[in-house]
């Protein structure tokens, strides 16, 4: 069966510090991978999606970036965090059905 894991689960970082959130998927090949963010009181906002290794599409201009160094690994990064980057970050995967399977989420607080 397929599983998805992301870490760390919680992170408290000062403004201007770097960020790295990692996500891995097991039990499937060539998944589509996504990073979403849920800000307080708001819905799920798509940040990045990837259809293959090295292929990243950005949905929202921001100081975040994503990389896919391996087929089942998706990384969300920032060189310098802003206060507005605080939120709940979710990694997800899908194949062709359109249904998304989400990871457990990572709570980022930028102080």
């Amino acid at each position: 069966s397929q599983t998805i894991h992301q870490w760390p689960a919680t992170l408290v970082q000062p403004v201007g510090s770097p960020l790295s959130l990692e996500c891995t998927v097991e039990g499937t090949s060539n998944p589509n991978l996504y990073w979403y963010r849920q800000a307080a009181g708001r819905g799920l906002q798509l940040l990045f999606y990837s259809v293959g290794i090295g292929q990243i599409s950005s949905e929202v201009p921001q100081n975040l970036s994503a990389s896919r160094p391996q087929d089942r690994q998706f990384i969300l990064s920032s060189k310098k965090l802003l206060l507005s980057d605080s939120g709940f970050y979710l990694c997800a995967w899908s194949v062709t059905t359109g249904e998304l399977f989400f990871g457990e989420g990572s709570r980022l607080t930028v102080l």
């Binding site: 979403y36 062709t96 998304l100 457990e104």
Partner: protein, 114 residues
């Protein structure tokens, strides 16, 4: 521009009664609609979906209704149970392909009172 809207941020229902969660959309190209359920500090989990060629899909206590002319869909939960208390997200997508992208609503917090 919010293409998927859930205008009720919260809903409280008595246990055993029906819960009705509503969702409106503006993009007539959307052809696939889903509902996700999310508990605090967890990722959303898929609940039920409906294709635009249907107007109803039922799975146990959960039924989704789609009214294409009104660009409206709703999720009915009957009977409601305390374990149903969660945030429910409506989502919609356009087109087919290897990277379907879902547009999510802002969510509705459902509280089922015992």
């Amino acid at each position: 521009d919010q293409q998927v809207k859930q205008n009720s941020p919260s809903l409280s229902v008595q246990e055993g009664r029906i819960s009705i969660l509503n969702c409106d959309y503006t993009n007539s190209m959307f052809d696939y609609f889903l509902w996700y359920k999310k508990y605090p500090a967890e990722g959303p989990t898929f609940l039920i979906s409906i294709s635009s060629i249907k107007d109803k899909n039922e799975d146990g206590r959960f039924t989704v209704f789609l009214n294409k002319s009104a660009k409206h869909l709703s999720l009915h939960i009957v009977p409601s149970q305390p374990g149903d208390s969660a945030v429910y997200f409506c989502a919609a997508s356009v087109g087919f392909g290897s990277a379907r992208q879902l547009t999510f609503g802002s969510g509705t917090q459902l509280t089922v009172l015992p």
